[in-house]
């Protein structure tokens, strides 16, 4: 248990390293070692989706991913959605315009899940969008405005 895991990974396009206890979760690496606190913890058991990140192109719950699995991986978090000069992405803009964020605690995970869906290029029908964010719980919005925001982002990105 005393040994340390030396991680090298790419987060939001930047090469990063971290030395963590071997049983750490990817969530701890991001939040504690790398200071990327945009990714949230809502349940710690993969049910709420607040810690959603993209790991090598796949949407994952960072609370369920052992840090060792992120060795050499490409990770995208909410902090990676904005442009290089801090400009909001279309998706972020649409969340603001359509009222997709309320208390905001699910918002980072929701945005990451939505971005993964948009990146996949599937038509943003309402059922498809709802399916894409079905692993992300929101207690504030009732989801309608989140679905609208994602559809609007898909619309404008065409």
């Amino acid at each position: 248990m005393a040994e340390t895991l030396h991680l090298a990974l790419t987060v939001n396009g930047q090469p990063r390293t971290a030395s963590v206890p071997p049983l750490s979760r990817l969530l701890d690496v991001l939040r504690e070692s790398l200071g990327l606190t945009g990714t949230k913890e809502g349940c710690g058991e993969g049910e709420c989706g607040a810690c959603s990140v993209i790991l090598d192109g796949e949407l994952v719950n960072a609370c369920l991913v052992p840090a060792s699995q992120a060795q050499g991986a490409q990770v995208t978090t909410v902090e990676g959605l904005e442009g290089p000069k801090g400009e909001l992405s279309r998706l972020q803009r649409c969340f603001l315009d359509h009222g997709g964020a309320q208390c905001g605690i699910c918002t980072p995970g929701m945005l990451v899940a939505a971005q993964r869906f948009l990146d996949g290029g599937a038509p943003a029908t309402e059922p498809a969008v709802r399916e894409a964010i079905a692993g992300n719980l929101c207690r504030c919005t009732g989801y309608s405005k989140i679905v609208e925001a994602i559809q609007a982002a898909a619309e404008t990105s065409r």
């Binding site: 972020q92 208390c103 605690i105 929101c138 207690r139 504030c140």
Partner: protein, 752 residues
């Protein structure tokens, strides 16, 4: 200086939907919740809890074989002030002594800088408890927290029942619901050198926590600041509970001399914190043959759990809303909140009203069935109208919208056509009509004397209020209302973070009062500030002060532009120093409430909602799917329509969860389903499309006509779902949630 036309135009932020002020940080992942903040030298705190629902606590033993080095231990003996969670009654200890009254009751506290060691240490604390018999069924409880009984036209009531064409009886039951904010309860207590303390946390009501900590720690007012951090949802669950966790963190931090952070795991949050009160409600109604309601007798029983918390107030709202949105020539309501050996129940969006409104609305369905009436027609006939009196004898003078919301929904869903069409098996359409009192019940606001204000800044002003942003949009609507009252663009207004050492006590962020009560007080303060500045502008520019006002951020004398607001503000600040204006809320004239008789104006005004729900019931699995919701809600004025719709949609889905999915299951007083795998809330796939019709029937004494919206959407969907299931299956399920097994049993019983 020549002014452009757009600068001359009066700002009109209210009624538009600008980007919410906290939005950009939230979508960038930069909003800092408690868990995102670091405190130098910080320890983690944990709670040792009772494993039994009731018992004699003989002692707390810290295993002598365990190495306690570096671990801070706290028991009730370490409490410097009073061992009480300050709220209404002083019955709840911060840490149990001599007796434990519910599972998960806090007994001792530990803190350590190493979380793994802390977890290990928890298992080395032994609680010596002699278990005692536990009362877990509220119907078997004889310990009454509060009892209300009110009557209207007692003599007429007996006659109503004697002369009724029909007497309809029904018993309705609802269970515990968990708020399930996605950010768990979280605080960090930071001791100050010299004995004071700063408490940061996720909360709705900083001054509740402030008062609780003063008593617990024996501190003076100036030694304590409670600061709300960005809060990831509340729904009432962070109204009263934060006083408990804050007290624990503060005790640990004082003993350790270091900051202590406590963040509940999801399981702990579900098992230990407050829930919606379970209720059993009995209706007995006298009805004329044409469906006119003649009189009612309603008995309400709320399970308060082990300690009083807010139960008396929850019960009063429940009791007042129990007769629903109808006129009753005569009525009697008898309501009790009793104690059981389960974790205390507390505030949850709707605050007692969803329970009693579920009962009365489903009872209306039962009445309609028994009389062979259209449920819409029954409601039309009996709905409250302007000039009518409510069951507490309140004359409804303003903004009475039962019929407008009912008709709006009926028209949108094509009610008449749908009722006339041939029945499709397994498909149903149901309706509900509710009202919700805006602001505190009874004399609550009169006793509270909420204060809120504005402070002049070089470009506009800063809002000073303790009202918290918990996702619902407080800071944005405050900025909108203040901007319009001052005549400046919204960008000129900032909103101070709630910190009890810096802002006045505008009261708790509860009871659908933030917009109407605090917003109205702020608008008044902003107008007063505007007058001061107008006088200054007049002086500077040799104008008649009576003719000077500010529009679009520019002072005018009539049509003559004098100066931008910022120039006048800067001049004022340079000449006179800081300026803040704090106003105290007072009720509009003519509002009278009698606490003892339970009579009079229970609320300044009511918001109204009608909801129609379409369901599909699977004949094989008895699962209910909500396919569509149409809801019309009169909130007086939607200050920010997008945020307002967000409240309606979010509340609706939370209510649908309560209707079909959500139930905290106890086994011998212990929560069995304390995880998100076992306590299910609606996902995006469970949530139906919702059509929201905002009806704006302005309340003359509300800011810009606004009433309240936070709780109203929680009231109507559950009974509408039950009504739709009744329509689909013929089975009236008088109990929430309507799970497949409950529906199967009800349908089986019907087939007999």
């Amino acid at each position: 200086m020549a002014l452009r036309p757009e600068e001359i135009e009066r700002s009109a932020s209210v009624g538009s939907s600008p980007v919410r002020l906290d939005g950009p940080d939230k979508v960038r992942g930069r909003a800092r919740y408690l868990d995102d903040l670091s405190f130098s030298g910080q320890l983690w705190g944990r709670t040792v809890r009772s494993p039994v629902p009731h018992g004699r606590l003989r002692g707390v033993t810290f295993d002598p074989a365990f190495d306690w080095g570096g671990i801070v231990r706290v028991t009730a003996a370490d409490i410097p002030g009073e061992n009480v969670v300050h709220l209404i009654a002083d019955d709840q200890p911060c840490l149990a002594v001599d007796v434990v009254r519910h599972c998960a009751e806090p007994v001792a506290l530990l803190a350590c800088d190493d979380r793994e060691r802390l977890e290990e240490a928890l298992s080395h604390v032994r609680l010596d408890i002699e278990e005692l018999p536990a009362v877990l069924d509220p119907e078997a409880s004889t310990a009454v927290f509060k009892h209300y009984r009110y009557e209207r036209n007692a003599e007429a009531l007996a006659q109503a029942f004697a002369g009724a064409a029909r007497v309809v009886e029904g018993r309705y039951r609802v269970r515990h619901q968990e708020q399930l904010y996605i950010e768990p309860n979280a605080v960090c207590a930071v001791p100050r050198p010299g004995g004071g303390l700063d408490l940061y946390g996720s909360m709705q009501c900083p001054f509740y926590v402030h008062r609780a900590l003063l008593r617990l720690l024996g501190l003076g007012d100036g030694q304590l600041a409670v600061i709300q951090t960005v809060t990831g949802g509340g729904f009432g669950g962070k109204e009263d509970y934060p006083s408990v966790i804050a007290g624990h963190a503060a005790l640990l931090a004082r003993k350790a001399g270091r900051p202590v952070k406590m963040i509940y795991g999801r399981d702990e949050d579900i098992a230990a914190t407050t829930k919606r009160h379970p209720a059993v409600i009995d209706h007995r109604t006298a009805v004329a043959a044409d469906g006119t309601l003649l009189g009612c007798e309603i008995d309400v029983l709320f399970d308060g759990g082990a300690y009083c918390t807010l139960s008396p107030v929850v019960l009063s709202r429940g009791a007042i809303h129990a007769p629903g949105a109808y006129r009753w020539p005569a009525c009697r309501v008898d309501a009790r909140a009793v104690a059981t050996h389960t974790p205390p129940n507390g505030a949850f969006r709707g605050f007692g009203a969803p329970q009693t409104l579920f009962a009365v609305e489903l009872h209306m369905e039962k009445i309609a069935r028994e009389l062979g009436l259209d449920p819409l027609e029954l409601r039309r006939r009996n709905a409250l109208r302007e000039g009518d009196r409510t069951a507490t004898g309140q004359e409804l003078r303003h903004s009475v919208s039962a019929l407008p919301v009912l008709e709006a929904v009926a028209e949108r869903v094509g009610w008449a056509k749908r009722r006339a069409a041939p029945k499709v098996p397994g498909r149903g359409l149901g309706l509900s009509l509710v009202l919700h009192g805006a602001g505190f019940t009874g004399s609550g606001e009169v006793k509270l004397k909420a204060r809120a204000g504005v402070e002049l800044t070089p470009k506009g002003c800063r809002v000073l209020a303790a009202s918290t942003e918990i996702g619902q949009g407080t800071v944005t609507i405050f900025a909108q209302m203040v901007a319009d009252a001052l005549g400046v663009p919204m960008e000129a207004v900032e909103v101070a973070a709630p910190d009890t050492s810096k802002v006045p006590d505008s009261g708790p962020t509860v009871a659908s009062r933030t917009c109407m009560v605090v917003g109205g007080t702020l608008a008044a303060a902003a107008r007063a500030l505007g007058h001061e500045l107008a006088a200054h502008a007049a002086q500077l520019h040799d104008a008649d002060a009576a003719q000077v006002d500010c529009r679009g951020g520019v002072f005018y004398e009539g049509a003559r532009a004098l100066a931008p607001f910022a120039a006048v503000a800067t001049s004022w600040l340079a000449r006179h120093g800081p300026l803040s204006i704090v106003e105290q809320y007072s009720h509009p004239p003519g509002i009278v409430w009698d606490d003892d008789e339970f009579r009079g104006d229970a609320y300044p005004v009511y918001a109204w909602a009608a909801t129609a729900v379409e369901v599909r019931v699977d004949p094989a699995t008895y699962e209910t799917t909500v396919e569509r919701v149409v809801t019309a809600q009169d909130v007086g004025k939607a200050i920010h329509p997008v945020l307002c719709e967000g409240q309606v949609e979010g509340g609706t889905v939370q209510a649908l969860g309560w209707a079909l999915l959500e139930e905290v299951v106890h086994e011998n007083g212990r929560v069995k389903n304390d995880r998100l795998q076992s306590y299910l809330i609606p996902t995006a796939l469970d949530a139906p499309p919702i059509e929201t019709l905002l009806v704006e029937n302005p309340y003359p004494h509300g800011p810009y006509g606004a009433k309240g919206v936070g709780e109203l959407p929680m009231d109507g969907p559950a009974p509408a779902v039950a009504a739709a299931i009744l329509d689909a299956t013929g089975a009236l399920v008088p109990e929430l949630p309507i799970t497949p097994d409950r529906l199967m049993r009800a349908m089986g019983a019907r087939r007999g």
